[in-house]
Structures are given as C-alpha cells and as structure tokens.
C-alpha cells in the first residue's frame, strides 16, 4: 500500500502534553519535518526553553539541552561554537525570549550566531497560568492585567522581529502565523529557510510564530485562531523582515 502520510522521524513517539488547539504542537511538527527534509538526522542539538515547551526535549528526536528561563540563545551559542558542524536551534516562548531573555536574543542576533531560533509568540505566559507577556496586546486580558493591558500601567507590546531586523547580524527574520493551512505552509517554508541558512553558514535566523493559546486566552480553539488572525496580526504584521 502506498504511504501518503507519515509522522516525521524527527519527532519521538511521546504524546505531546499541549492543550487542544495549542500552537506548540504544530510548530514542533513543522520544525521536525524541516530537519528531516534537510537530512539533518543525527546532526542536531535543540535547546528547550522554560515555558509550556519545557518538555520539548521529550519530543524532538535529537540531542537536546534544557536551558534556564530566557537563556536559550546563550546556551545555543555555547553549543554551536564548540560544535560548528552541527545544526543548533533554540525554541522559545515570548516570556522567555522577549522579556527575561531580551539581552541573550539581541546579542546572539547582533553577533550573527549561526543558529536558528523558533520564537513562539502567543501573547501570554502559558505555563505559569496566563500572566501578561511582553507581547500581550493592548486591551488583552491577562491574570496580571485583568482589565486588559493598559499603556499607562503596563506599557506597550514589543515587536521583536522588527527590532532584531535593525541589526546587522541576522541573515533571516520572518513572522508567520499558525492560523490556516496556507499560513501553516508559509510558516514551514520560513522555518525551512531558517535552517537552510544555518547549514549554508549564513548566520542568525529567527522565525517568529504567532500561535494560539486557547487555554489562557479563555476561548475555544476556533476563536483562538480567529484572534491570532484578526487581532494579533494587526500588532504583529506577518512578513519577512530581513533576508540577506
């Protein structure tokens, strides 16, 4: 019988712990499929974050280091510099990357570290139960801004892709969204390019993935996807911010 679909070999058989409708599972699969399609089996070190994806080391079928909260780009730097022939990627949430780990991501990008960063922007702190993230939208409710994010009280959300694109170090920066098959396909293309760049030695690549968190947004998976498409993309426009 012809095989028309099979699970990528770069994921283990451990079932994901993610909530129904969560974007993390899709993002994991896209990353794993890209690694497989680029024939990188046995040549990869992943860096897992602190956040809902903390157990990513159970899922990716490669060597993995679990980093302290926000430090994945520094850990990835250490791994890559000592193993330049291996492909090294950091997988991070928005609290991890855009709040506690801002110094690490900016300087890894500025150095042009030859690593790939997958940045899951779900506009909330998932793992700790729905607190405000640096990417929480104005007006969006979170457990630490229960009336909705307010500029005077909470400041403005951060656009990481735009910010990093001002640096000379990065070779590729794109923002994608896990909203529908067309956008998921685009997301995969961006992730693949981010890995191809690393293989080609082009330096730092990051793909920001707008991703639903129905659980902590307090909406259904369908409404969560709608929120990504209709609200998040206004604050965080999709597109390629750097490609050289």
């Amino acid at each position: 019988m012809a095989v028309v679909f099979k699970k990528t070999s770069m994921l283990t058989d451990v079932p994901f712990h993610y909530c129904p409708g969560c974007g993390h599972g899709i993002a994991h699969r896209l990353v794993a499929e890209c690694l497989e399609e680029l024939n990188l089996q046995g040549k990869v070190v992943g860096i897992a974050p602190v956040g809902c994806a903390v157990f990513a080391y159970n899922y990716f079928n490669c060597d993995v280091q679990e980093a302290a909260h926000g430090r994945a780009p520094a850990v990835a730097t250490g791994v890559k510099r000592c193993n330049p022939d291996k492909v090294v990627f950091a997988y991070q949430g928005d609290g991890d990357l855009a709040s506690i780990g801002t110094a690490e991501i900016i300087h890894a990008a500025a150095r042009g570290e030859n690593i790939t960063v997958i940045f899951i922007n779900n506009a909330i702190y998932g793992m700790t139960g729905g607190q405000m993230a640096p990417t929480t939208l104005l007006g969006q409710k979170a457990t630490t801004c229960q009336l909705g994010r307010n500029v005077a009280l909470n400041g403005n959300p951060i656009r990481v892709s735009e910010m990093l694109a001002t640096l000379d170090g990065p070779s590729y920066i794109a923002r994608v969204a896990l909203t529908d098959p067309a956008n998921v396909t685009k997301a995969k293309r961006a992730i693949k390019k981010a890995f191809e760049n690393q293989v080609a030695g082009k330096g730092f690549s990051m793909v920001e993935v707008l991703s639903p968190c129905p659980t902590n947004w307090g909406v259904s998976p369908i409404d969560a996807v709608k929120y990504v498409k209709e609200e998040m993309t206004k604050q965080f426009p999709l597109g390629v911010y750097k490609d050289c």
């Binding site: 283990t12 089996q41 046995g42 040549k43 990869v44 070190v45 860096i47 903390v54 080391y57 079928n61 490669c62 060597d63 993995v64 280091q65 679990e66 980093a67 302290a68 430090r71 520094a74 850990v75 990835a76 730097t77 250490g78 791994v79 890559k80 510099r81 000592c82 193993n83 022939d85 291996k86 492909v87 090294v88 110094a103 690490e104 900016i106 300087h107 150095r111």
Partner: protein, 353 residues
C-alpha cells in the same frame, strides 16, 4: 625553566594547557587579564573565546558548551559571580563539568576592587538555589593556582561538577616565577557519552537537563549528588599543616592570607609562641577531619580563623573543632590586607591579656 608570570595570566595559560578550549566571560576587575589573555591564546589552539553580553549569558554559554562536551570555563569577580549563580545552580543540577574562577573583591554591593575573601559563604554554601556544592580550591600561590587550574578540568570531568577556583584578588595580581606544565593532549581526555554533541537520535539521544518534575526522581538526584560530595570529601580534601605538632595556638587561613600567617608564625615562634597553622587548599570539601584531629591534640589551646572578611570560614572551623577548644577571629575587610606583624600583634595581645 621558570617564567615570571602574573597570577591571572598563569591561570589562563594553565587552563589552555589543561585542555580548556572555550571561554565565555564579561569584564570585571580584578580578573580582566584572564579573558584578555585567552582572547588571544584560545584561537591559537583552535579554541573559542566570546566576550558575552553579561555574566548571566557567559555562564549559560558555559552550560551549552560544557553540555555538548567541551572543556569550557568562565572567570569573574564577586559581583559577576553573584550574577552567575542561577547558571551555576543549573550546571550543578544538570551535572555538567566546567571551571569557574572567582578573583574575589570586597563587598557587599559594588564594594571595592581590592582583595577580599568575603565570597566564602557564596562559594562553599551554595550561592544559587537548591541543594548543591562545587569542588572549591583556595590556592595560596601563583604556582599552586596554576597547578590546580591545570588539573581542574580532569576533576570536573571525573565528578561531573563545576570546579571553582577562589582567588583572593591578590593571587590574580601578583607576579611570581612559575613552572608551566606540558600541554595536555585532548585525545587522552575521557569520552563523554552523555554530552549533546548532536549525533544523538532515537534510543541514544542525550538530554542535558535539570528539571525533575517527579518528587521521588528529584530526591534521588539530590542523593546522588550528595553521595558524590561524600566521595569528594574522602578523596579530594587537601590542606597543608604547618608546625601544628607542638602548637598551642592554631591558625586556620587560606589563600594569600595563609602566606601572611606563615610569616607571622615564624616571627611568633622566634619570640617563643608556639603557633601553627592548618591551611585548607580545598574549601569544599573542607578539611574538617584534619582540624578535628588537631583540636584533639592536648597541646592545642585555641584556634584563630584569619580571613579577609568579617568571619565566614570561621563557621566551618567551629563545626570542625566542635567545642573541643575555643575559636576566635581576626580579619580585615574593604580591601585592606593584614601584615604578618598585624597577625603577630593580635596573637601577642591576646596571649598577654
């Protein structure tokens, strides 16, 4: 042939000869000669040097490099070591071998840039969160610092834990004639099957991690670490005993302070005071048994812990003496260093009270 070298540079060269191929650090006085030297030296041997954006990043780069199998190190001074504590805790939790040098300066806060030993608590009692220790050395001369650094990666690899070299600022800055050892051959280093070098897939995937969500599993990890510390105490405890056989007064001092005390002891002996010294070379494991044994000598009347702090190591001295004899303290802080005469005068005044 002996070579005149500054402490920090001797340590840096010994690191390279001991197999170090990756350094990550952030500038801070009084240890800058270590990164400056290695920024030039490591590329010569195919190693990697990065001036990180902060000590937080530096220690996490060490985590990544050490976790993927490299002999990696960092160095800093007190405020920078404070920033590294989270990373050190993770490194201990993930059981990664690496070397950390702390050229201690006075504190708290920004403190000063002069020598101190006020990071003793931070270093031997934890510093970061959780139940852990490091193998800690307090070298007393540039040659001893160099020799300890030369073998530090072997110890770190053997026990899968960080080795910290606690210098008291002076060790980094003084120049002494030293004998440099041969370059170790990386091909002779033990293979690290656990390291995430990227070749893992399927059943032989390697995970570097300090997260143990199941209480029983984490408790077992805690016990495994502490069993290792017990082995350390048995096999790696090092100290020097100086004129303790007939001593009535026993000084306990480490690092360059111990050298000052040695001069003081010689002065005091000439005046008829029977003074000796225990100089811990490892601060963790602490030479508890050696001090206990000396405390049991009938001739010994009292102990004096001499430190460049307000009195930190004295707590371990007291635990070792365990009430058998009195333990008192003499120290200077703020970057002030006692002279041998200061120590001698303190003891003479005490004896004639």
């Amino acid at each position: 042939m002996k070579k005149l070298m500054k402490g920090n540079e001797a340590i840096a060269e010994a690191a390279v000869r001991g197999g170090c191929r990756a350094f990550f650090g952030y500038p801070i006085t009084p240890q800058n000669e270590i990164p400056e030297y290695l920024s030039k030296r490591l590329p010569e041997v195919g190693g990697c040097f990065i001036q990180a954006e902060s000590e937080v990043s530096a220690i996490n780069m060490v985590y990544g490099a050490a976790g993927s199998g490299a002999r990696a190190m960092t160095s800093s001074s007190s405020p920078g070591i404070s920033l590294k504590q989270e990373g050190i805790s993770y490194i201990c939790g993930a059981e990664l071998p690496c070397v950390i040098v702390n050229m201690v300066r006075g504190g708290p806060g920004l403190g000063g840039i002069q020598p101190a030993q006020s990071d003793y608590f931070q270093t031997v009692k934890g510093g970061g969160h959780g139940d852990y220790h490091m193998l800690v050395y307090g070298p007393g001369s540039v040659q001893e610092a160099l020799d300890i650094m030369y073998d530090a990666f072997d110890k770190a690899d053997e026990y899968r834990m960080p080795v910290m070299i606690l210098g008291d600022g002076m060790i980094g800055q003084i120049m002494e004639a030293v004998e440099l050892p041969e370059m170790k051959d990386p091909a002779t280093f033990p293979k690290k099957e656990w390291a995430t070098d990227g070749t893992g897939i399927g059943a032989n995937r390697r995970i570097v991690n300090s997260l143990y969500i199941e209480p029983d599993v984490l408790e077992a990890v805690n016990h495994r670490l502490f069993d290792r510390y017990a082995t350390l105490a048995e096999k790696e405890t090092r100290y020097e005993a100086y004129k303790v056989e007939d001593a009535e007064i026993v000084i306990v001092a480490y690092g360059t302070v111990a050298r000052i005390c040695k001069s003081a002891i010689n002065m005091l002996r000439e005046k008829g005071y029977k003074v000796g010294m225990i100089r811990p070379i490892t601060l963790f494991p602490f030479p508890t048994k050696a001090i206990e044994a000396v405390a049991s000598q009938e001739c010994v009347k009292e102990f004096i812990s001499v430190e460049l702090s307000m009195g930190q190591m004295i707590e371990d001295v007291k635990l070792a003496v365990n009430g058998k004899k009195t333990v008192s303290f003499y120290g200077r802080t703020g970057g002030n260093v006692m002279s041998p005469e200061d120590v001698a005068e303190f003891i003479i005044a005490k004896e004639n009270k």
